[in-house]
């Protein structure tokens, strides 16, 4: 068989691994850095016997995927680290089942974080649920581990877990492709083998799971995903997981320590291949741990050492617990990289001269600074959230009770900054805004009168807000919810949400938010904030004066997504004779306050101007220009040359 080798992103490799591992169903909820796994599978679903879809949240995704496994087919669920919290309730019960088909949970962590509200290390869930966990170091391994875990899951009847991290999910590397199997099993749910978690059966199932994990540990002892590079009987050992293995290797080579330092790469993180590690620990006098986020391997190896102290003698451990492996914010905080490992080795080996080594971070900074234009965090041009938060800001200021907005997970999280008029004052996890806001309203009996408005996007609304909304109704909260419905999951790359209209790209009709909320008895008002900015301010203000549960849907399609399928037909232009620039009466309002990337200021002329190619004609600056100096023109209309 010819082996095809191609360049794949880590997440593409995982997607390929799903195909090679025989997955029949792949689903997940979008979230950086995991989104490209399902995104890529969706692109190719028609080529293979494969069901691929986005789910509204991670627990639903896992539950749906489990159904395939129950029926004898394999399935994969992808999510970011926050997602495993959402699905953990089901995960920690389905793990007790004897599965028929493979069931693999892929979790992509975001150390740093780059785009998350926490820096959670998802690996702990493998311990909690007692499921096998692998972590790849390269895109090749990402693909291989995915397909291997799907088969292991089917063979052993256990849920399996793969952990990736941002840098691996988004880096590209050469990958040798394998064959994609044809589906051979006919799906069938065996009524003789019910999967009912009766308390009386839990202990038996738990025991069976632990027995399987012992067998799997034996398999891991001989796994090719674990390897050792370095001198035999190394007295200085680096134990590394995931990308840490590459960073360790690079640091050792940079400092010329190959002759004295051995690198033990661990790909099978739970259960840990204890005998394999012990064999290398036996010779070691010092051990350095390199892994992303928490000291997961580090803690386990120390437990292992405690069990073998007498035979191993004294070992000095270096890592996150002892502080040697540390980024600028301290050990266990932020991403690790080769520089951090290098500094740890220099400190331990007391190497002062590192003149031959240039810091990777510095080098990358130099390279990128010439290519990237510095810019503020800002809503895109034409983004309807700009209008929504302008309205929220204005209404809350007019209300005058020091009201505030509680955010949720989505592009609109940027409203904690200037682009959203610094409106968001609390931001945690999917759906938390509505729960928080309900709670704030209950503080009124203690004399609290600051209105708390919760905002959530359409995708977030379906994901996690419905229970909070029902709770607010159930408990008679006085609270205003605002759904920023741009009809797409924009932040993670424009995945469809249940609100996505069928004429976008979906065949099925959308699930209408107001149909749900009005059915609950919630007073719901729908408005396009860009078209009706003044009405939007009045609406929010008036709703703040009313008691009970109120819901406003600010509905306007994501401008950036819309541009992908519909031509931009208009653009705004400044009439210079009317523009008063920095003078009293304006002070560059369109630029200074609205912060649209399409609007700039000509300091020579002391006039604002709009970059025609950037403007998509949302019209917010037209409506808010205090001098009515901006008007909308049709694309191609040059007759109005001021």
């Amino acid at each position: 068989m010819d082996i095809e080798r191609t360049l794949l992103m880590g997440n593409e490799a995982i997607a390929r691994g799903a195909l090679e591992g025989g997955a029949s169903y792949c689903t997940g909820y979008p979230g950086n850095p995991s989104s490209e796994i399902i995104g890529n599978l969706l692109l190719h679903k028609n080529k293979y016997e494969l069901e691929v879809e986005w789910s509204v949240n991670e627990i639903v995704a896992l539950e749906a995927a489990a159904a395939f496994s129950f029926a004898g087919l394999s399935a994969l669920v992808a999510m970011k680290q926050n997602g495993i919290n959402v699905c953990s309730d089901f995960l920690t019960t389905v793990c007790l089942n004897e599965l028929k088909g493979g069931l693999l949970v892929v979790v992509c962590d975001d150390p740093g974080p780059l785009t998350s509200t926490n820096e959670e290390d998802s690996r702990h869930f493998a311990k909690i649920a007692q499921i096998p966990l692998l972590e790849p170091s390269t895109p090749q391994e990402a693909k291989d581990m995915t397909s291997w875990l799907l088969r292991l899951s089917q063979d052993m009847g256990v849920v399996c877990m793969l952990r990736s991290v941002s840098r691996l999910s988004h880096c590209r590397g050469g990958v040798k492709l394998g064959p994609i199997p044809q589906q051979v099993e006919e799906p069938f749910f065996d009524l003789q083998k019910p999967l009912v978690g009766l308390p009386q059966l839990v202990a038996l199932n738990h025991q069976a799971l632990l027995n399987k994990m012992r067998k799997i540990q034996n398999v891991f002892e001989h796994s090719a995903f674990n390897s050792y590079h370095g001198p035999s009987k190394a007295r200085f050992l680096i134990i590394a997981g995931g990308l840490g293995a590459l960073y360790a290797q690079e640091a050792v080579e940079t400092l010329g320590l190959e002759a004295v330092v051995g690198v033990l790469k661990i790909g099978t993180l739970w259960p840990l291949p204890a005998a394999f590690i012990t064999r290398h620990l036996y010779w070691a006098e010092s051990v350095l741990f390199v892994e992303e986020v928490d000291p997961f391997i580090e803690d386990q190896v120390k437990v292992l050492y405690a069990e073998h102290t007498e035979e191993m003698g004294k070992i000095i451990f270096y890592g996150k617990n002892t502080g040697e492996v540390s980024g600028p914010n301290g050990p266990g905080v932020g991403e690790i990289n080769a520089d951090i490992v290098l500094e740890a080795l220099r400190s331990i080996f007391n190497i002062e001269d590192a003149s031959s080594y240039s810091s990777y971070s510095e080098l990358s900074g130099k390279l990128t600074s010439s290519m990237l234009v510095p810019r503020e965090l800002s809503f895109c041009r034409g983004c309807p959230h700009r209008a929504s938060f302008f309205a929220l800001n204005a209404a809350l200021k007019l209300d005058g009770r020091d009201g505030f907005v509680i955010g949720d997970i989505g592009c609109y999280g940027l409203a904690a900054g200037e682009t959203g008029f610094n409106q968001i004052k609390a931001l945690h996890c999917m759906g938390s805004g509505m729960g928080n806001a309900s709670g704030f309203s209950k503080l009124s009996s203690f004399g609290f009168n600051q209105p708390a408005v919760a905002v959530a996007g359409d995708s977030t609304f379906y994901h996690a807000c419905l229970p909070a909304l029902v709770n607010a109704c159930f408990n008679n909260a006085d609270v205003l919810f605002v759904i920023l419905d741009n009809s797409i999951t924009a932040m993670t790359g424009f995945q469809e949400s249940p609100a996505t209209p069928s004429d976008f790209s979906k065949e099925n009709a959308p699930v209408i938010i107001e149909n749900i909320t009005r059915g609950m008895g919630v007073k719901t008002t729908v408005l396009d904030p860009l078209e009706n900015i003044q009405e939007a301010i009045e609406l929010i203000f008036n709703q703040l004066q009313e008691g009970g549960v109120k819901l406003v849907v600010f509905r306007r399609a994501c401008a950036t997504y819309e541009e992908k399928s519909l031509p931009v037909t208009s653009f705004a232009r400044v009439e210079e004779t009317k523009c008063v620039g920095e003078s009293c009466g304006c002070d560059r309002f369109c630029i200074r306050v609205l912060g649209c990337p399409a609007v700039e200021y000509d300091y020579n002329k002391q006039k604002a101007y709009i970059i025609e190619d950037s403007c998509n004609g949302c019209g917010l600056c037209v409506k808010l220009c205090p001098k009515e100096a901006i008007s909308l023109l049709e694309k191609g209309d040059m007759s109005c040359d001021y």
């Binding site: 200021k397 007019l398 209300d399 009293c584 002070d587 309002f589 306050v593």
Partner: protein
């Protein structure tokens, strides 16, 4: 001293936000609205929705609660003390000779008559007046007598009238008359005197000021109307003591609200207002004690005198002498408001520049 103060403070939106907007000194007169997009109004709510980098701005200068600049320092009302009722040329008891039976005039119909006359003789091209919708006031620019008459009758909740002035003066050739409360008249005078704004010179030609003891917030007014279950208000009146009630006439029925409840809804900014008789207007107009259907009219400026005389000459107004006893009572009531305001300013926890300034007037008022 003034220069040093100017250097220390921001005389733009930042200063206004620190000194007035969102404080208990703000009267919601509307003078800072419709100048730019950084200050917005909804009903009588006014708020700064964005910061502004302009150090010296009209929003600050026009406000009746900010430091009077040299050009406006000599004014009366909240800006200084010019006697119990401010400076004046003359005063009368006045009524419209053609009061219609079903009119909604609060007293003698003089305000509507004078403003209509100003339009008629071409002193102004438009009049900024306050209309009501479902009992809630809002400012409009009227350009005919009929439109002015639609605005007749007192409104007890405040309307940010001057935001309509700021909007209307931008119309080419604007030449406005304005009917305003004392705080609004003070601001309008500051607008007229504001230096370096040639495009507005002559844009405000006549200011008719209404006597005012206090005004209600629109939210407070809404709460009061809710207690009687009505929003379609025909007329509102405050009968003289000992009747401690507000009368609201709606669909032919009379409703009463105890004055004590009404006063709870007074705008906090009114409690620190020194000006009962609109001392910075061209003509000030109010009720006449014990004489329903008539107005007290105080002529303060030459342009006010010209308009008033024109209406009298045209036979539209009937005038009589305001006796010394009534004039004395008016002066006492005005002084009483000033003293109350100063006491309230002294008792407030916030140490706003406006409070500090009006407290200094106490000595001059007491000497009187």
């Amino acid at each position: 001293m003034a220069n040093a103060l100017h250097k220390q403070q921001q005389f733009g939106l930042r200063g206004l936000s620190l000194e007035v907007l969102g404080t208990d000194a703000c009267t919601a007169c509307g003078s800072c609205v419709s100048i730019c997009s950084s200050i917005l109004a909804l009903g009588d709510r006014i708020a700064s929705v964005a910061e502004c980098g302009v150090d010296t701005g009209r929003c600050y200068h026009f406000c009746p609660r900010t430091v009077p600049f040299p050009e406006s320092a000599g004014l009366a009302g909240d800006l200084g003390y010019k006697g119990a009722v401010g400076s004046y040329l003359d005063y009368y008891i006045v009524r419209n000779v053609n009061l219609s039976a079903d009119n909604k005039y609060q007293y003698g119909g003089v305000v509507s008559t004078l403003m209509s006359r100003a339009l008629e003789v071409g002193i102004i091209k438009g009049a900024v007046v306050t209309r009501s919708s479902n009992g809630f006031p809002y400012p409009v620019t009227a350009s005919t007598r009929e439109e002015i008459l639609k605005a007749a009758g007192s409104k007890f909740a405040l309307s940010p009238t001057n935001m309509e002035v700021n909007r209307a003066v931008n119309n080419p050739g604007a030449n406005l008359g304005v009917v305003g409360l004392p705080c609004q008249c003070t601001s309008l005078k500051k607008m007229q005197l504001y230096p370096g704004k040639a495009e507005k010179e002559g844009a405000i030609s006549i200011v008719l000021g209404l006597f005012c003891t206090w005004s209600l917030t629109q939210l407070g007014w809404y709460r009061l109307l809710k207690t009687i279950g009505k929003t379609d208000v025909d007329r509102v009146d405050l009968p003289p003591p000992p009747a401690e009630v507000m009368e609201i006439f709606s669909q032919g029925a009379r409703h009463e609200i105890p004055l004590e409840e009404v006063k709870e809804q007074i705008r906090p900014g009114c409690h620190v207002c020194l000006d009962m008789t609109a001392e910075n207007a061209d003509i000030s107009i109010g009720m006449v004690e014990g004489l329903p259907g008539h107005n007290t009219v105080i002529i303060r400026t030459e342009q006010g005198k010209f308009l008033f005389q024109s209406a009298v000459d045209a036979g539209q107004l009937e005038i009589s002498t305001l006796d010394d006893t009534r004039w004395q009572h008016l002066a006492e009531a005005s002084i009483s408001k000033k003293n109350r305001a100063i006491n309230n300013a002294q008792n407030r926890e916030e140490a706003l520049p406006y409070y500090k300034r009006i407290i200094k007037l106490k000595e001059r008022i007491e000497k009187q």
